[in-house]
Amino acid sequence: MDQNYSSIGRGSQTRQAIEINKVLRNTYMLLAMTLLFSGFTATVSMMMNMPPMTYLLSVIGGMVIAMFVLPRFAHSTAGIGIVFLITGLLGFGLGPILSMYASVPNGSNIIMLSLGGTGVIFMGLSAYVLATRKDFSFLGGFLMVGFLLVLVAAVANIFLAIPAMSLMISAVVIMLMSGFILHDTSRIIHGGETNYILATIGLYMTIFNIFISLLQILGIMGGDD
């Protein structure tokens, strides 16, 4: 009898492990495709010489769709199309920023370092969570409050325009987004996130924010800003 319960328990654990692996695989696959798509829309935007305000409008549009439209379609295949719409829009918004950096001396070096740095941070942190299988769910409240405080500081700095404060905000954003990578990946591998569409958009946002913040830090510290 005990043996029966034990094998039922093992069967359930195996099914859960398979389900978690499936969510993880689908998340990384969709993430890779959306990043490629963002790269494509960013290139299109650069070729079209879009004005700087494109970035602001794209980010606002992307965030509104992510907050109000995506949750309604996250459990259907239409959700995949909406993820591509959001990531394509954010990539398109990156075009003018990349054009601006590309036009300054050493700008292409800054862009390549930011791109490579973002990739190393994301892969390193993901590998850390997958290898240690630590549970980072305790970080949730801390990261959200930290993120809100950074947003308040960012609002203030829009009008204050202090370069040192911009640098500090970018550094804190990278720390917080790194925390979100640990938290979100840990949620997937512990069965807390079973929707790969929502998992993808969460991880994409962290990568996007790390890339933008690294660009800003390297741009300021590179002395070419």
Binding site: L56, I60, G124, L125, K134, F136, F138, F159
Partner: protein, 65 residues
């Protein structure tokens, strides 16, 4: 002159968007604060160590620019 007006307009729109985002996120942040499990000191060390490594890595990138 026209470019200054454009910049002011963009600043105001960016600030409004960020404020709306803060208002939207605030209830979620409060919910997560109240419902997140508490981490032990070893849990926090497992977070702090990789973050310090990331900081060092960023300093390395700055040196490479």
């Amino acid at each position: 002159m026209e470019s200054d007006i454009d910049m002011d307009w963009m600043k105001i729109v960016a600030a409004m968007a960020l404020i709306m985002f803060i208002i939207f996120l605030f209830p979620r942040a409060r919910h997560m604060m109240e419902n997140s499990p508490k981490g032990s000191s070893s849990d926090w060390m497992g977070f702090i160590v990789p973050i310090l490594v990331i900081l060092l890595f960023i300093m390395l990138l700055v040196q490479l620019v």
